[in-house]
């Protein structure tokens, strides 16, 4: 049985390896840093299983990702553009996760990305039917961090 953590880690590393020619190193911590402002985006899974995938990062991290993707710098004040870029990264990660769920025989759909505000936190308790993971990634070459959370419930 493949865990949601393995699915998430593979997907994030594939996206960063392909689009950024870089690696995303997972670690145990879901922290962005105490008190840090975060930009967050989320997508919803629905169908045979339901759940969500979310990503959060400091504006400086998202700006560094934008610059790596497009070769042009962007101000951390341009939140709309930063959210669009982070949403597209999430969309690619979510799409790869969906492909893995489909391969396991689940019929599911994935929503478009939308904004979330506030930090993406660890759940206090997990119901038995829920698979849940929250993984921080150090982005090699960018010296920045993103946190992804994947929740699925059948």
């Amino acid at each position: 049985m493949i865990t949601v953590e393995a699915i998430l880690v593979d997907a994030v590393r594939q996206v960063f390896g392909t689009m950024f020619v870089s690696d995303a190193i997972p670690d145990e911590s879901g922290d962005l840093g105490a008190g840090q402002e975060a930009i967050g985006m989320v997508q919803i899974f629905a169908g045979d299983a339901s759940g969500s995938i979310a990503v959060g990062g400091r504006p400086e991290a998202v700006a560094a990702i934008y610059e790596r993707l497009l070769g042009t710098p962007i101000s951390v004040e341009e939140e709309s553009e930063l959210r669009d870029a982070l949403g597209e990264v999430l969309n690619m990660v979510g799409g790869l996760c969906k492909a893995r769920f489909l391969a396991q025989g689940m019929r599911i759909t994935l929503s478009l990305p939308f904004d979330v505000h506030g930090l993406i936190r660890r759940h206090v308790a997990e119901p038995g039917s829920m698979q849940y993971t929250l993984v921080g990634f150090d982005l090699k070459g960018l010296e920045q961090r993103l946190v992804f959370r994947l929740i699925m419930e059948r």
């Binding site: 392909t18 689009m19 934008y66 497009l70 070769g71 949403g87 969309n91 969906k98 489909l102 478009l112």
Partner: protein, 130 residues
């Protein structure tokens, strides 16, 4: 030389694709952009475009509906090459896109080389048509 239409609801993805195209070595002299199928149809009605790259999942009009609109009508651009560039991996939806007239399917995430490899032959063929 040719004109490419990029249809994607993400401004970041439109810029990424345009950047890859400019670095691809393909003979492209103009790139135009639309946020969804509705905007793309308006552009096609008014401008000469040689090839379209479209996302699947977009608000207002998604890629499948856009493909149907282009292929089913009697518009002058009904046979234009359309490449779907999407995160969508559901085999049924990919088959449906190809059945209703997508020329190629490129899955996100993609490399610049993969994009150029998919577009090259289509663009060469499109430019032969007066």
């Amino acid at each position: 030389m040719s004109t490419i239409l990029i249809v994607d609801d993400s401004s970041t993805m439109r810029k990424i694709i345009a950047m890859h195209l400019s670095q691809s070595g393909l003979e492209i002299d103009r790139v135009v952009m639309a946020e969804n199928g509705v905007e793309a149809l308006k552009i096609l009605d008014n401008e000469k475009v040689d090839l379209v790259l479209t996302d699947m999942n977009m608000p207002e009009m998604g890629g499948l509906a856009f493909l149907s609109e282009v292929r089913d009508g009697d518009r002058h651009y009904r046979s234009i090459p359309i490449v779907v560039v999407s995160t969508e991996s559901e085999a049924g939806l990919v088959r449906e896109a190809l059945r209703i007239g997508a020329s190629q399917y490129v899955q996100k995430p993609f490399t610049a080389a993969k994009l150029a490899e998919s577009l090259g032959p289509l663009l060469a063929h499109a430019c032969e048509i007066p």
